[in-house]
Symmetry: D3
Subunit: 119 residues, 6 copies
């Protein structure tokens, strides 16, 4: 797996485990809701992942963007679809989004490289 992808996921897993082990009821339930909210419902999973990606982008949270890029990638969304979602986020959120866009493109490339090298 690509280094940036595996490092991001390793840190994320390790610290999520530490947080959940701490047993704060509110935080545990919020983590739980997060899994539920993106499950298939009236809207399909692909749409929901794009909604999560756009929310993360306009709120300018790099780690959240990476997480949703990874989910959209797993769901089989094409780069063109993901980029259209990011273009809406950039328009609504302004040029202040651009540095996050640069990192999003870099991470998407890492996700694609990983798929290629795995196959």
């Amino acid at each position: 797996m690509s280094d940036v992808v595996s490092e991001f996921n390793a840190y994320r897993s390790k610290m999520n485990d530490a947080i959940l082990a701490d047993n704060n009821k509110i935080i545990k339930r919020i983590f739980n809701l997060d899994t539920n909210a993106f499950a298939e419902g009236a809207l399909d999973k692909k749409t929901k992942e794009l909604l999560g990606l756009v929310a993360s982008t306009v709120l300018r949270c790099d780690d959240c963007i990476k997480y949703h890029l990874e989910s959209t990638h797993k769901e089989g969304l094409k780069k063109e679809e993901v980029v259209e979602a990011l273009s809406i986020a950039t328009l609504v959120g302004g040029t202040i989004i651009i540095p996050h866009l640069r990192r999003a493109y870099e991470y998407w490339d890492a996700l694609e490289d990983q798929t290629t090298s795995e196959s």
Copy 2:
């Protein structure tokens, strides 16, 4: 047409006209991009409107929420679909979103009332 809906649209139209009449090139182009970004593309219009709604909601802009609720309503999205998008926005953006959710529900009802009374 429902009062809140027609008042919102009348003020929006009047002031948008005033802004565009002022002829600032940057602002005019941004208004123009706004129309383009939500047109059918790799993603369909319904999905794009939901993306615009979620971006507006997590950034907590009531007028932008109203505008996108109206567009999703016109595109024929069902309340259940719109509410799922809003639920993702509330989870990602936190309880600070709830007052905007109250106003979004009220505006959606006004949009539905207007359709009923028009038919």
Copy 3:
């Protein structure tokens, strides 16, 4: 009861009922967590209400500020204590907080008037 206080609460109740009646599982659970998070725990209720007030203030959500002002008032916190919390919010969040401070002072006065007129 003071008009501004009763109007705020009436609208809040009516729309919260409409939202909860809609039965979106994610939103219902978030509403539920909100009640839980401010219950007595390792920190007492007074401290938690002040934390909610400061979070609402730096995120500049007038309705959330009103809600937490009301809770701090019910918990018997003194104006001086509430104002110290607001002063920290103003310092951390900047002068952009000041318009919200004006509305917070006005609402606190309405809360105090209501208590006086009720007794």
Copy 4:
């Protein structure tokens, strides 16, 4: 004086007085700094007022925008200059700024009307 302008200023003055009468040291000093920061210095007052306007606009604070529109108007800045500052704010902050732009244009017109009717 135009109604919207005088109402805004009357409420602002009344509540600022209430806040300052309350004697919280931190808040008083922040109010004081606010006066100082926009005084002539290495940068002239006009530039500083435009900086305050752009900061208020990207942070989407309507009352702060009104306040700085009034100051730029008093300093004799032309509408074209003010609109260029607002266009930068809209580009950097995104289309989420547009509803604030509508209200800014409306308030600027009220400021100009007031000048005309006073002369």
Copy 5:
């Protein structure tokens, strides 16, 4: 002392000195207010530090979170109390807070390690 803690503090001190040496009156006074605002008053220091921590968390400023974690740790607040404050911040600010929560947990552990190794 733990590496992450000492590195954070060394950089913070060095650059704060550079800023203060620069003698901008407004910035110096804001730094000064920061010390004052968290001093014992109507609210005790522990409560104030928690308010600073929650404000920093919902505004998603990692360095500010680290600074207030360190202060709460020095004031003798227990992890359970700090985590309850963070849980309120996560609920109010949404899941967008979670990446900051991961880094907060990591920093708190570094603060505890440092205390252990010093004793």
Copy 6:
């Protein structure tokens, strides 16, 4: 050239090229507007760069701050002028700005070092 400056610019250029090569019409136009908005107009370039710097600072975008520091430096603005702009941003945006101020000072020093070593 100073390492931090050249690294920032190299990454920025590389990723901007990748984004533009991707040919999303909305994103390309936003990039294009960015160049236009800061060109000489009713306001001169120096003022516009300061507006961009203040917008970037209150929105707390380190990369945007670096970019505008570099532009103000190239336009020949003096440190004292830049710092006055930053002081307004810190007052309006609050102490949450301070960590960004530390990195801004560090980057400005790097920009000055580079000029000295080049001459």
